[in-house]
């Protein structure tokens, strides 16, 4: 049966080559689209790892003031903690969650090198951001004795460096001692891939790390914020103060991911509708052209279902050809590890695209094949 279908298709290879190209191209577009969607959905399903509601990021900038900057930052932090509206406050490097800036460095352990996001934070960070600690505990200022800086790593970095080994108490990158392990920490929002991250205890005496993370009581409004900004600017004159609500920053980072995906989705959606309509039209016409053949088959005893099955299988064989060529291209992505995305994502995307292509093709062939099944042999052969 299949050999027969191949022969039928091969005989009209000229006319079919255009259909082939069309299905092949739609497959590639669909593959791109579904890779993007699968990648983002998979990321979205990983937990964020912290709570952003009611968290404010206060950026300080000392501008031309160079006297006792570190001490002044600590004083501001202390004053923030004394406010009744503030539940917890912490000082960290400028790459706070949902911010545009990031810092990464390689960390080495046992000849394994992993690139990780670095965050310098103080001992209150886990409490301020509500980060659950899986193993060990979050570091304290008192841990900073000797030549090692205490660090907390996330599970991804633990897996990358240690595998099944116990990480607690180990020294990594020559100067860090692991104190605790947290689950995930997706600092760029839900759509970010879960990347290795490392938190190190910040040195309170440096003048960098001038960002304060504050968790306020629910329902705290701009009146308190204005009061707080005023208090800070009177305390440290000449400094700039900027307050970001993490809920707002999250929306911005989300839009940066979602808007391109939605645009791509709309455009390729229309492209596929276009292709489907075209395919439908072409099949319709080709059945009209083959009335004689259909009439003859019916006269020789083929059933209506048999006829419509033939047309659907014909288009399936054609789609399979196109998909095989398309697969040759698509398989390069997981093989060559393009964009450093897991092979699983590409394979899922390929599977989805194949199913959708078969679906579209079947849908387009269904109506014309029904039409073909209804052809009466007497009428069709009479025309001949």
């Amino acid at each position: 049966m299949i050999r027969h279908l191949f022969k039928l298709i091969w005989n009209k290879k000229r006319a079919h080559s255009l259909l082939l190209v069309e299905i092949w191209a739609s497959f590639l577009v669909l593959f791109g689209l579904s890779s993007l969607i699968v990648y983002n959905v998979r990321n979205y399903r990983e937990p964020l790892g912290f709570e952003y509601q009611n968290a404010w990021a206060i950026s300080l900038n000392s501008n031309q003031d160079t006297v006792e900057v570190a001490e002044k930052i600590e004083r501001v932090l202390q004053q923030l903690r004394d406010q009744p509206e503030v539940e917890a406050a912490s000082r960290m490097s400028s790459n706070f969650p949902f911010s545009q800036s990031s810092m990464n460095n390689g960390v080495e352990y046992n000849k394994k090198n992993v690139l990780a996001d670095f965050f310098s934070t103080d001992e209150h960070f886990a409490k301020t951001m509500v980060i659950p600690v899986l193993e060990g505990r979050w570091y304290r200022s008192a841990d900073s004795v000797g030549k090692y800086t205490p660090v907390v790593i996330n599970r991804k970095l633990k897996e990358g460096l240690f595998g099944d080994e116990k990480p607690l108490g180990k020294v990594i990158g020559e100067r860090f001692k692991v104190i605790g392990v947290v689950n995930t920490f997706k600092s760029k929002g839900e759509f970010m891939a879960d990347k290795p991250a490392l938190f190190e205890l910040l040195d309170v005496k440096t003048r960098w790390n001038d960002l304060l993370m504050v968790r306020v009581k629910p329902g705290t409004d701009a009146v308190f914020e204005a009061k707080m900004v005023k208090a800070i600017t009177t305390m440290v004159t000449g400094w700039s103060v900027e307050v970001d609500h993490l809920t707002d920053s999250r929306k911005t980072t989300h839009n940066m991911t979602l808007v391109p995906v939605i645009i791509f989705l709309i455009v390729s959606g229309f492209l596929l509708i276009n292709v489907a309509l075209g395919l439908f039209g072409v099949l319709n016409l080709s059945i009209a052209k083959r009335r004689g053949e259909i009439g003859l088959r019916r006269a020789l005893g083929a059933t209506g279902t048999g006829i419509s099955e033939q047309f659907i299988s014909e288009i399936w064989v054609l789609a399979t050809f196109a998909l095989l060529i398309g697969l040759l291209f698509a398989v390069q992505f997981p093989l060559m590890n393009v964009f450093d995305i897991q092979a699983g994502i590409y394979l899922t995307a390929i599977a989805i695209s194949i199913v959708v292509i078969y679906g579209i093709v079947t849908l387009c062939a269904l109506f014309p094949s029904r039409l073909a099944a209804r052809i009466q042999p007497a009428v069709a052969l009479h025309e001949e």
Binding site: D248, I273, G278
Partner: protein, 415 residues
């Protein structure tokens, strides 16, 4: 003859509404996407309010320092002093402005918080750009010399801070981060997609917290060099590079030893692409490869689709072709007929696309996704689309036309 061809084309269109729909859907979809895209690119890179002189401007955005081993690099905006010494002193440029890139801050009115973007500029900023002053005037050299605490605000910020009233706010007081400023002018705002001029509040650079006193080469400032005319761009660029070449190498900056120092002055588009790619050649090729592929798919798929439908419909017109050939019409005439028919259909699709594009652009402008968005279909965009239209029509018309006109008379008349 032409009207005859078009009449025939019109009749053919009406005969099968479904196929007409497929054809027009494909053409207008593709053209709409292309036109919205070009209009957005034009919005990003063209010369529009308030950077109407962008076509003769050079942008100095960042300084790149690299060590002798090319292993570590350091890049970012420059200090006010550096730009004053190396850019402001240009003799071939008409004017040079130095301003900060986008900074942000907060202001509070009652229980309301306003997030705002701020910019510190010199007086020349108002000459290089073409801001429309709704009220008052810009600050001048005198204000800057006196370190006056004055600001120019946008109409949008005025609405948020002072409410919807129509009375003038010149001379009124604005409090930002505990410092009071006097409003000196109100301008129509600039969209966020133009970071060199986008801001809610403009301060003179001598206002507090501008850090213009910083001594090193790096800081928070960028510059726009305005050439006298477009052909002068090269001269200005050369003079600027000769200034940069005066910087002694190697040097040390905050403990970073650099052997290579690069400061580019480029037209807006190159500057933009340069920052996007950051010099990495591999990523650049991949990026442009993907863009080219997407464009090809976008153009190619509907084209293949059209050719496909057209080729399948040859037989419908077979008797007509047969009769015309029997009466002595040569292949060329027939081909021209089909090409003209296709161009006619494509222009019809183009007309629909134009309407659709206008609707989409209106939607984008009014959605508030980009404040002050001013997407338009300008003459350039329209002409490019028309050209694309034509290529498209020929692409999907030539192949079927060629096939159709080569049919044998007997074969064509048989059915």
């Amino acid at each position: 003859m032409l009207t005859n061809y078009i009449k025939i084309a019109w009749k053919v269109l009406l005969r099968h509404p479904f196929y007409t729909f497929i054809t027009l859907f494909g053409i207008s979809l593709t053209l709409t996407v292309l036109m919205v895209l070009t209009s957005f690119l034009d919005h990003l890179f063209g010369s529009h309010y308030p950077e109407t002189k962008r076509d003769r401007s050079l942008y100095v955005m960042q300084m790149m320092q690299m060590d002798s081993g090319r292993t570590s690099r350091n890049s970012g905006p420059m200090s006010f002093r550096f730009l004053t010494e190396y850019a402001k002193s240009l003799k071939t440029a008409e004017r040079v402005t130095i301003c900060t890139f986008v900074n942000s801050s907060n202001a509070y009115v009652g229980s309301q918080k306003i997030k705002l973007n701020t910019k510190f500029t010199d007086a020349d900023f108002w000459e290089v750009t073409d801001f429309e002053f709704l009220e008052g005037k810009p600050y001048n050299e005198q204000n800057i010399a006196n370190s006056d605490q004055v600001v120019v605000i946008t109409d949008d910020f005025k609405k948020h801070y002072f409410g919807n009233g129509t009375e003038s706010v010149i001379g009124k007081d604005v409090e930002i981060e505990n410092i009071h400023y006097r409003v000196i002018g109100v301008v129509k705002g600039s969209p966020v997609t133009r970071p060199f001029t986008y801001s809610d509040v403009f301060y003179p650079y001598t206002a507090p917290k501008s850090n213009y006193q910083r001594a090193g080469m790096r800081g928070g400032y960028v510059a726009i060099l305005l050439a006298k005319k477009q052909s002068d761009l090269k001269t200005v660029q050369d003079e600027f590079q000769s200034h940069i070449a005066r910087i002694p190498l190697p040097g040390v900056q905050e403990g970073f030893k650099y052997a290579i120092l690069e400061v580019k002055s480029e037209p807006y588009l190159e500057n933009f692409i340069g920052t996007l790619m950051d010099g990495n050649k591999g990523i650049k090729t991949v990026f442009f490869g993907i863009i080219a592929f997407i464009m090809l798919m976008l153009m190619g798929l509907p084209a293949i689709n059209l050719v496909n439908v057209n080729v399948s419909r040859i037989m419908e017109r077979a008797s007509e072709i047969g009769i015309r050939k029997a009466f002595g019409a040569p292949v060329r005439t027939l081909m021209w007929q089909f090409i003209i028919e296709n161009i006619f259909i494509t222009f019809l699709g183009g007309g629909i696309a134009l309407v659709l594009t206008l609707i989409i652009i209106q939607l984008i402008n009014n959605s508030g996704m980009i404040a002050y968005a001013d997407l338009t279909i300008n003459v350039n965009v329209f002409l490019i689309s028309l050209l694309v239209c034509l290529v498209f029509g020929l692409l999907s018309g030539v192949l079927p036309a060629l096939r159709m006109s080569k049919l044998k008379i007997a074969e064509a008349l048989k059915s």
